[in-house]
Symmetry: C2
């Protein structure tokens, strides 16, 4: 059962495993450096659906179905599903997952949702409240663009600090068994608002939240960056990653040699026109649940921190002059 | 620590208490039958803010602050806050709660959010993952109308099956102490889609979900409706409540003598022009956290089921021809 360690960190005292995971990706993502790791890719971003929103729902259906299959389970074996996405009222989760008939708890952590759903799943499994949980999230470039920015057809020019919303999804089956990589501790993020107002620079808005959560975790556990093979954030992209390293350096913490970011990993910066990198719930979701999970499984990675970040804004809040608060939730995951 | 009982129900084996609660309400709600029970009411629904969205955020700030004060605590004593609302990207929760500096996990269960946040808080406290949690939610008539329906100024006529979104908020401080009413078991809802498509009849869309969750709970615990002083749903309103009673009657379960609904309780149907009753996250939130909590405290109620219901749709999903799936999360709460 979970227990608190330090001020904000929660330690799993039992075996809490990521038993299986699946990452799904759209066309641009499948052409990037991680293309071969995804469990399923689509060359048409409509996925054969009538709308982008329905296409995004389909990404979640696929991710959950494949992850459950890879665990050798059926939907009926799953006690609860934690899911969320960027669309208003989280409709891609609802419509993508309704057919499974699994008890459902909708989560909203913006682009930090993959970490948030995994945290909730881990605590539920370690506590005995459930045996098997699924964590799932998605995003879609086209549904996000039209909801948060401009109609795709308008062809608006993007700033160099803007990130590219990933068309993709990730799902992880989490249980209290001994197979798969282990979730050791989790740290729940605070809402950190440094008054950044530029909706085209989400990396800058979210970097202070990542710094706050990573510092809390290291302090709560008495560990240092070098204790980990990889400190993976997402999705700060290029701009936010530089800021995170700089903020932590000022606090005497150097993560420059073992930090990476899902938004940097998923696209080829030279060949793919994505400016500051990838973003969206599906960025962390698809990267963690395919490439990273694979590296943990084959022992290339053994001991990582995964700190997903979210920008907690809406077009309405920005239009009303509000700043963009950030949040970051962290998991410590080991290969065994 | 929590343990599973039956197929879907989770039992708290320790003392999990609703240590304090606070309900906040707007002008129309304060003039209704529960007016005297609210901890704070506003005669101006702008709450002195520059927009309806900021006013709704303020409702959450008030609810959380008053609930924490009533528990004799400071925000720094709270380990985690679970919150959500109806606005796109749940901005009233984010902006209403950012100043507290409490680790934050955003929830989205539409109008079932009060029950969902209480369920999460209860499991976290019973498991040892935290000591004290706050569950909070809100809604605002004007921010909901403009987001989901028509501009207020348009003065659109409402159908008789339509419900009136409550301007209000509720917050509950939940801990593993022995003071206050107790959360005994919880049942997490499934997404139930009976293909209702009328966005002006949410009660009909949500009633089957309430029926499913209540039946599951009764079956999992081997209890019957008469074992409870009150089976409280929210927010089915008048239309949905009748449907719920009818659906359960067909299954051989009669709740007609001890059922009520937050959407029926909050307004005076004769004197206040609300058609099918109240709705919105803030309906269950403000009714449970003021009147109902008060009745539990003074022993007028001793043993209740609280099953909040949500309609998991967005204007976009409805415009794309989707049906309105419902969900209902349940808690069994006793006065001691």
């Amino acid at each position: 059962m979970p227990e608190r360690t330090g001020k904000r960190t929660i330690r799993m005292t039992g075996d809490v495993s990521v038993r299986s995971a699946a990452g799904i990706a759209g066309s641009k993502e499948s052409q990037g450096p991680l293309g071969k790791y995804f469990d399923k890719t689509y060359s048409d971003d409509m996925l054969g659906q009538a709308s982008w929103e329905k296409a995004e729902s389909r990404l979640q259906t696929d991710a959950a179905q494949i992850a459950i299959n890879k665990a050798g389970l059926e939907p009926g074996n799953i006690d609860v599903i934690f899911a969320g996405d960027l669309l208003n009222q989280c409709i891609s989760s609802v419509f993508g997952l309704r057919s499974f008939g699994i008890p459902y708890l909708g989560q909203y952590g913006a682009c930090s949702t993959m970490a948030q759903t995994m945290i909730m799943s881990a605590i539920m499994c370690d506590s005995g409240a459930c045996q098997k949980a699924v964590a799932v999230t998605s995003s879609h470039f086209c549904s996000a663009e039209r909801q948060f920015r401009f109609p795709i057809e308008y062809g608006g020019q993007r700033t160099l600090t803007a990130q590219w919303t990933v068309t993709g999804a990730g799902a992880a089956v989490i249980d209290n068994g001994s197979t798969g990589s282990k979730i050791k501790e989790v740290t729940v993020g605070k809402i950190i608002d440094m008054k950044v107002k530029d909706a085209n620079n989400m990396g800058a808005a979210m970097a202070p939240a990542a710094a706050d959560t990573i510092m809390s975790y290291l302090s709560d556990t008495g560990t240092k960056p070098d204790d980990y093979d990889l400190i993976l954030t997402g999705d700060l992209g290029y701009v936010g990653s530089e800021l995170l390293i700089e903020i932590l350096k000022k606090e005497g913490i150097d993560i420059s040699s073992n930090h990476n970011d899902c938004g940097k990993l998923i696209f080829d910066r030279e060949k793919q026109d994505v400016h500051a990198g990838g973003s969206g719930c599906g960025c962390c979701g698809s990267v963690f649940c395919s490439y990273i999970y694979n590296e943990l499984k084959n022992g290339q990675l053994n001991n990582i921190l995964f700190a997903a970040t979210g920008a907690l804004m809406s077009p309405t809040s920005s239009q009303q002059g509000e700043s963009i608060p950030g949040i970051s939730h962290l998991l410590h995951i080991t290969s065994k």
